[in-house]
Amino acid sequence: MSRRILNVVINGERHELLIEPHWTLLQVLRGQIGMMGTKENCLEAECGVCTVLLEGKAVNSCILLAGQVEGRAITTIEGLGDPEHLHPLQAAFIEHGAVQCGYCIPGMILSAKSFLDENPGRQPTRQEIREALAGTLCRCTGYGKIVDAVAAAAQRMAGKEPTP
């Protein structure tokens, strides 16, 4: 199959990649670049573990053709924060016991970020948080502590509670 060049910005870094036209963004992230923080499971946009941000909005990278992100900006979990500088969502997920096996967590955190960024400065209700996260399956936690974490991060991001 004929390959083509893809130009894409991932976590602020420009990449020029040789891809096949049928490859998904997930395949490129994991297979070409070796960024494994974006997880792989159903490949049918049913489970949400592959969620990344495309220009700040949550998308399922498993059904997005890589060619569709030409010239655009992608954020993955690796771009959100690092161990020394955790994003408030990452810190809140740890503090509230929202992480168990952790496989859905990158997708869950990025879905939450997309949602909170759409509603800046406003404290969402638990029901709104649940609706925002309903596209990502978690089999470990029962979601309650994830909702706690997102609610706490929302407060912190709105400046109502200082980042420790």
Binding site: I94, C101, C104, R130, E131, R139, Y143, V147
Partner: protein, 757 residues
């Protein structure tokens, strides 16, 4: 426990692997790659039961990019399996279910591997099949006509399609029924439920120059996987090394060999590393889901609702291979007895073969199925006798020193406290009749499986400790919990403990991430290792401080003797110079309690070690038109013995209840004529964030004798009671019990409409 004034144990400390997991740096089996790796795919049967008349792989093998195609003809002729050695890697001359592996391909890309599968030619000749588990009990169609030639554990009783039959018997049920005030008979069915881990099963295998194989895999049981691989590959187990990088959930679905053997066989054939990962379709057609069951119960009571006798039977559908079915079915017998005093018991389990995918031991194997039957029937009896559902339970529950179903003496019994606290929290006494709304309660008990654990603990010259364990951190936080115990015992902080990865070549044996036992057993092994390390450190400190060992304690990272002290770091440095460093091997095993063998027949798990007790209560509404269930509140009171880390215990409870809600209301792998009709995550309905309410946890701490600081097993129990608690609440809301899981809105609406006519 408060008297012990713990600093680390019992505290809500963040899990040790949390930062790696929230930053995407934690490596899971599905993330693991090697340079030059090939991609493996499995060709699966499209027939439920058929002879393979022709199998031609030549077209596939000739395709560019294909490096190997293997079938049963290319590998050692081995049958493996836990209870019954009935399983082969590939179908031999006959496929036993739709999805049965026939061949495997390794290619330079996944796309080419998939294309190669389509180029394998298979001609089938269909055979009569048996799909219904009750029909299979007496069917002339045998899934394994050669069953009698298979090796099996001596305890397992088999015959034809029955891969295991077990019994528990006590007293004279017939006489008790004859004298009973009333006798109730009910039949319940439960459905096949997928464990639903979000990481697919994945493995990478690579052979070295000396003919040893290493497999990186997301298994719950690395040592079991090592042994099974050795059998399949016809190698001594020391030449098989299993490494668990990280695991994205398992819940019992990653106990037994999944894709590791395909990767290892393809890697051997190609002399290249090979990766195999499952698709969602493969997961829902060929994995190890919770078995479907049929449970029949006959229970006799006196005028006041006291249980006099129970006859119970569970038939459990193993699918084409026994898997963990015989043991799972037998475990159901203890659950059928329940946490109740019943003088006469006649309980019987059948694990049966059918022409469907093999099933397995999903979290609390057989627990929710048998509990659903027992606890639904308790409420039916209460309703018939005009008793409060809480009251009938309180009249029958076991107490300290009572005997369990196997004749064992029960200790640290807390079922009354669990029931009373769950009932109080849900507002049990405030049950005003409101149309379409109801509260339900259910209770149960479960084992802490023992199984041995070994750990090495090393004290480093900076005063920190390294825990080397073969136990898998499956997500529960069990290794964080065990490390909290270790830190407590060594007067360290949790941050001073590091954990090595799981590697069967380097780590001591561990029975695995199963049976609510990792924190329990590894915690006990850490206690033993810490005691040994104290002895070693005190011996060194005695010479340094010129003080007697008897006067020494560990305090704040120092060995202290009166007003003299020396840091643990200094002791470790001295040990390095003089004695090869501080290291201890701690071990733990929890034998089962004494029981009455006369009560048991062919039961592989005769009496429960350190049982836990629990009660669940729920408040819900049922939509009168659609049958949709809306859960308002859900309360769990669970006896955990000692809460090593309350945050992650709550996490176990919340996650287990969510799985139980799924089993209760929506989850079912639907088979029709041997074919799975919903092999995707849209039609297989696991609860989303919108389907699970906030779950309220009450941690009851009735200390066990055998667990670290009194802890009991925690992980499995929370998924056991939800189906029954929800069924009882639906009955309170509607006036009827649905004896069939899942209790979908469709089933409820149909019943509501039928009753309106």
């Amino acid at each position: 426990m408060s008297a012990r004034n713990f600093r680390v144990a019992g505290q809500r400390l963040p899990r040790m692997d949390g930062i790696g997991k929230v930053t995407g740096k934690h490596v899971y089996a599905a993330d693991f790659t090697l340079a030059g790796m090939l991609f493996g795919k499995i060709l699966r049967s499209t027939r439920a039961h058929a002879l393979i008349r022709r199998l031609d792989t030549s077209r596939a093998a000739a395709m560019p990019g294909v490096r190997a195609v293997i079938t049963a003809a290319d590998i050692p002729a081995v049958r493996f399996g836990q209870a019954v050695r009935d399983t082969t890697v590939f179908a031999l001359d006959r496929v036993l279910f739709m999805g049965h592996p026939i061949a495997a391909v390794a290619a330079v890309s996944l796309e080419i591997a998939v294309q190669a599968l389509a180029a394998i030619d298979v001609d089938y000749e269909d055979l009569p099949a048996v799909f219904d588990m009750e029909a299979a009990l007496k069917s002339a169609v045998l899934v394994h006509p050669e069953w009698a030639t298979y090796k099996a554990l001596p305890i397992i009783a088999r015959s034809g399609n029955i891969s295991g039959r077990a019994r528990i018997k006590a007293g004279d049920v017939e006489a008790a029924f004859a004298g009973a005030h009333r006798v109730y008979e009910h039949r319940f069915t439960t459905a096949l439920q997928h464990p639903g881990y979000t990481e697919p099963r994945a493995a990478v295998a690579d052979w070295d120059a000396n003919g040893n194989v290493t497999v990186w895999t997301g298994t719950q049981l690395p040592f079991d996987t090592q042994n099974t691989l050795a059998e399949i590959l016809d190698l001594p187990s020391s030449r098989v090394r299993v490494i668990v990088p990280g695991i994205g959930g398992g819940f019992g679905g990653k106990l037994r060999i999944g894709v590791e053997h395909f990767a290892a066989l393809l890697a051997r054939k190609t002399a290249r590393p090979v990766r195999v990962i499952t698709t969602s379709e493969e997961e829902l057609t060929h994995s190890y889901p919770r078995q479907a069951t049929v449970v029949t119960l006959k229970t006799g009571v006196d005028r006041d609702g006291h249980l006099l006798a129970r006859q119970g039977r569970i038939v459990l559908d193993c699918g084409a291979y026994a898997g963990s079915g015989p043991a799972t079915a037998a475990i159901a017998l203890q659950v059928l007895a329940g946490p109740y005093k019943t003088a006469a018991l006649a309980l019987e389990s059948f694990a049966v073969y059918t022409n469907k995918g093999t099933s397995g031991s999903f979290r609390g194997p057989a627990g929710p199925m048998a509990n659903f039957a027992v606890e639904s029937q308790m409420d039916m009896i209460a309703a018939d006798l005009g008793l409060d559902p809480l009251e009938i339970r309180l009249r029958n529950i076991v107490h300290e020193g009572d005997r369990g179903p196997s004749g064992e003496v029960l200790r640290a019994v807390s079922i009354e406290e669990c029931l009373r606290r769950a009932a109080a929290a849900i507002g049990w006494d405030d049950r005003k009749p409101a149309p379409g709304r109801g509260k339900g309660i259910a209770c149960g008990w479960w084992m802490t499986t023992g199984g041995s654990s070994g750990v090495y603990v090393k004290i480093n010259p900076d005063g920190s400790a390294t825990l080397v364990s073969g136990a898998v951190e499956i997500g529960t936080g069990a290794i964080t919990g065990a490390s909290q115990i270790l830190a407590e015992e060594l007067s360290l902080d949790l941050a001073d403990i590091s954990v090595t990865g799981v590697d069967t070549q380097a780590a001591p044996y561990d029975y695995g991430a199963q049976g609510s036992r990792t924190a329990f057993s590894v915690g006990n092994a850490c206690l033993a290792a810490a005691a040994d390390l104290r002895r070693q450190m005190f011996a060194i400190a005695a010479a340094q401080l010129d003080a007697p060992v008897e006067a020494m304690v560990l305090r704040d990272k120092h060995v202290v003797a009166g007003d003299k002290s020396i840091s643990i770091a200094e002791v470790a440095r001295i040990s390095r110079l003089s004695g090869g460093g501080l290291i201890a091997h701690g071990t733990a095993i929890s034998p089962s309690p004494a029981y009455d063998p006369g009560r048991l027949e062919n039961h592989p798990l005769p009496a429960w070690n350190t049982p836990s007790f629990h009660a669940h209560a729920v408040d819900l509404s049922v939509d009168p038109d659609t049958g949709t269930v809306d859960i308002h509140r859900y309360v769990v009171a669970q006896d955990v013995g000692f809460a090593i880390n309350p945050t992650y215990i709550e996490g176990q409870i919340e996650g287990g209840v969510a799985q139980g809600i799924g089993q209760a209301l929506s989850e079912e792998i639907v088979y029709q004529d041997g074919k799975v009709m919903n092999a995707n995550l849209t039609d297989y309905k696991m609860p989303t964030a919108l389907d699970v309410p906030d779950i309220e946890s009450i941690l009851v701490e009735c200390a066990s004798v055998a667990g670290p600081y009194g802890a009991k097993g925690v992980g499995e129990p929370p998924c056991i009671e939800p189906p029954a608690a929800i069924a009882n609440a639906i009955a309170a809301a509607t006036g009827f019990w649905l004896p069939s899981l899942p209790m979908t809105a469709e089933k409820i609406a149909r019943e509501l409409r039928a009753r309106r006519k």
